[in-house]
């Protein structure tokens, strides 16, 4: 008899034995088992791009670090989600983000509700060793309801994905290369002049204060990106 192929995989995450469906990612399985892996670009309901590199994990037997959000589980895998090496890289990545643009929490609409800020607290980031780049970036307030402040953007591309995948408008995209990359609306038209449908999904999914609603600050401006999985579920049910 040939061995029976099963749909269920068993693996070990941080010493804990867990089971998973074939095709599930390590991140999904870890979260089901209340093992927290830090993420920034990942958001339930959007496709995964593996870009922020915070969710890197170690797999026993391999020297390579793999992003948990896009790595599928395999039978017998032994995953380590936190170690000295991983913490060092995660902190450095956050430092790189904080030094890349102008993240000044005290004057930010999302102060206290920012995923970048809370990730810094969570990973015990006390200071930035790197020189601040202080780039000269624009603020586009041409839209009647929303504003984009590129100084606070971390290029997680959630807005691009939400607009293309959920709203189906694909107004947001990226321009430029490397350190000069910015998100743009349409073909670099002002947001207010663009083909934006004014649905506001991009604002809700933005992890920082880069995209925000006008006339709202701080406590007035909670973002609730949790509607995406629900929206997807209801659409599939239809």
């Amino acid at each position: 008899m040939s061995p029976v192929e099963t749909d269920v995989k068993t693996l070990v995450i941080d010493g804990k034995e867990v089971s998973a469906h074939a095709g599930q990612t390590i991140l999904e399985v870890a979260r089901e088992n209340e093992i927290a892996i830090p993420t920034l670009c990942q958001l339930d309901g959007l496709s995964n791009v593996g870009a922020c590199r915070l969710c890197l994990i170690e797999i026993k037997g391999s020297n390579k670090l793999l992003p948990a959000c896009v790595t599928a589980v395999q039978e017998g895998m032994e995953v380590v989600t936190s170690s000295e090496r991983l913490l060092k890289h995660r902190r450095t990545i956050l430092e790189l983000l904080f030094a890349e643009r102008n993240h000044i929490c005290s004057v930010c609409v999302s102060n206290g509700r920012c995923e970048l800020q809370s990730m810094g607290q969570q990973l015990g980031l006390t200071h930035i060793r790197l020189p601040y780049r202080n780039p000269d970036l624009k603020v586009d307030a041409s839209h009647e309801r929303f504003t984009v402040d590129h100084n606070r953007c971390i290029l997680c591309m959630r807005c691009v994905r939400a607009c293309a995948e959920i709203e189906g408008a694909h107004v947001w995209d990226t321009m430029g290369r490397g350190i000069n990359t910015i998100v743009i609306t349409d073909l670099h038209e002002e947001w207010g002049e663009s083909s934006c449908t004014r649905c506001g999904k991009c604002v809700q999914v933005c992890p920082t204060g880069a995209l925000f609603e006008k006339n709202k600050i701080g406590a007035d401006h909670p973002k609730s990106p949790d509607f995406l999985p629900y929206l997807n579920m209801m659409r599939e049910a239809q």
Binding site: L56, L65, K88, H89, L96, E100, P131, L155, G178, I179
Partner: protein, 546 residues
């Protein structure tokens, strides 16, 4: 087209050649062309016609020794002339049948005798745009043999037996890659030729595409037969206009001769190739970014797995091979995998083409067996460092590679040996530096290259290379501190281990290797505000004690 018809074409080319007493080959590759070798060819054609001698003047691709261009080779005497100007045409024409023109003669036996030409066997010997010339040199014989006498598995077995590894730099076993794509489920599969050569100082793929394009097309067709694909793409940089125009002409010729298209060689095998132009992004040499670019999207890499072998172009199983890899296929099928495996070192078989540039006498293209010592390439074939200067370092593998000092010159060139000393084989760029080069400045140059070529998708590469560039600039201008150096090393490890694709993962290599072998130069810049090579301008001596 059958093998018999190939033989007929080859025979008619030979008959045609017999009419002539001499053949004059003029290099019309990009290097020689930049020095007006087209005018040389025209002048030679006029001169021989005026002289009444029976001479055929042929346009060829690269002869390798770009430093001595324009090059002219006279057969059957095998006399090589260097630095030929159009005004020399009459002298050369007059000399035919007599003594060669001594003052133009290029006598570099050492340079050519130590090389083994497999990929470059036709370069500088045939007219790249005449399919008949290629056929007369056993061209398309391997394809028709494979189609008529071999199973796809049989082809893959030969490639596996040859031990050929990817020539784009990664060194992944080619036979294994082909086998994976062949086994992948799917009725539609693709073959892609990666000609997005972007390393500074590298021009191997360009020369192959310019000098012998049919060889690459034949390799692609054999690959397509082996993996079960019927459509191929050549992704080539738009900055290589000559390669693109020659490829376009060759595609047309190959289709006209029934060597591409439907029912190739009177078999049910169909295969055609399209050219896609790259817009000059270095990252598009990375296979997932290249695929995105062919699909018309922004050229950014995706995490692997899934590998292109399983889900590549438009989600279909896709085989991606580099130009030089595909150029090796036809001779392997013709002569057998074992013949190829007989060359080279234990785990790196065959030959490798290198582009020798920088402070070296014989700038140009060389092809050597794997396992040859770096010293033999640089001091022997390359003719050493000119101008009485002292050798300092050799940079292999482009921006992903490392700088190796004199003490490392006796290692044999192979994927594993270069990796073990902190560099990589890469696609074959080899930049030689002498004592006028500052190694900190060299590291800064390569990091700047990676910074501007980073696609911006993942944070370690996007922001990490930018920060490394800032720190290296500080050191190069005398503003650096030992803390900056420590921070630089710390960043190297994160960019190397955490980046998404090969560009970021290898970007710190020039910094790491110069820190390993030339650390004293960094210290000299930081502690004594002095650049030992006299390259860096120190700005801020007075700020130091402030």
């Amino acid at each position: 087209m059958t093998i018999e018809e190939l033989d007929q074409i080859a025979a008619s080319v030979r008959t045609e050649r017999e009419q002539y007493d001499h053949e004059i080959n003029v290099c019309l590759g990009t290097g020689c062309l930049s020095q007006h070798s087209d005018r040389v060819k025209e002048a030679l054609a006029q001169a021989v016609e005026a002289s009444g001698k029976k001479v055929y003047v042929r346009r060829t691709g690269c002869m390798g020794l770009c430093a001595a261009g324009p090059l002219v080779l006279v057969d059957p005497e095998s006399t090589l002339y260097q630095h030929v100007h159009a005004s020399h045409a009459e002298t050369i024409a007059a000399s035919l049948g007599g003594a060669p023109v001594a003052e133009l003669q290029c006598d570099l036996r050492d340079h050519f005798d130590q090389q083994v030409h497999v990929v470059l066997e036709n370069s500088g010997r045939i007219d790249p745009e005449r399919v008949e010339d290629y056929i007369a040199n056993d061209g398309y014989r391997a394809l028709l043999t494979a189609l008529n006498d071999m199973t796809p598995q049989g082809v893959i077995r030969q490639i596996t037996e040859s031990g050929l590894r990817g020539r784009g730099g990664g060194g992944y076993p080619t036979g294994l890659k082909w086998g994976t794509v062949a086994k992948a489920k799917g009725d539609v599969k693709y073959v892609i030729c990666n000609g997005d050569e972007g390393d500074p100082g590298a021009f191997m793929d360009r020369s192959v595409l310019e000098s012998d394009p049919h060889r690459v097309l034949e390799g692609m067709a054999i690959a397509a037969y082996a993996v079960g694909a019927s459509k191929g793409y050549i992704y080539v940089r738009a900055e290589y206009p000559l390669a693109v125009s020659r490829l376009t002409a060759c595609l047309r010729d190959a289709r006209r001769h029934g060597l591409l298209g439907n029912g190739i060689g009177n078999t049910p095998f169909n295969f055609d190739v399209e050219i896609r132009l790259g817009a000059g992004a270095f990252v598009c040499g990375e296979e997932t970014a290249l695929i995105a670019s062919i699909e018309g999207r922004r050229g950014t890499p995706k995490p692997r797995p899934p590998y292109p072998a399983v889900s590549g172009l438009w989600g279909k199983p896709t085989l991606i091979n580099n130009v030089e890899t595909l150029a090796n296929i036809a001779p392997i099928i013709r002569k057998g995998g074992r013949w190829f495996a007989g060359m080279g070192s234990e785990r790196s078989k065959g030959t490798k083409v290198f582009a020798l540039t920088g402070k070296i006498a014989n700038t140009g293209l060389v092809e050597v067996p794997m396992g040859i010592k770096l010293r033999e390439i640089i001091e022997g074939i390359g003719g050493g460092v000119p101008g009485g200067h002292k050798f300092k370092a050799v940079q292999t593998g482009g921006p992903s590679g490392g700088c190796l000092p004199e003490s490392m010159l006796d290692i044999g060139v192979s994927y594993d040996a270069l990796l073990s000393v902190g560099s990589i084989m890469g696609s074959g760029g080899m930049i030689v530096m002498d004592d006028t080069s500052c190694m900190v400045n060299v590291a800064r140059f390569f990091i700047e290259f990676c910074m501007t070529e980073s696609c911006g998708k993942c944070i370690p590469c996007r922001a990490g290379t930018a920060q490394m560039f800032t720190l290296l600039t500080r050191i190069c201008t005398g503003k650096g501190t030992m803390d900056d150096l420590a921070l630089l090393e710390d960043l190297c490890s994160t960019v190397k281990e955490a980046s998404l694709c090969g560009l970021g993962q290898t970007a710190p290599n020039p910094v790491l290797s110069t820190l390993k072998y030339f650390r004293h130069e960094y210290i000299e810049h930081i502690e004594h505000k002095r650049c030992p090579a006299g390259v860096c301008q120190m700005e801020a001596a007075e700020e130091v004690h402030a």
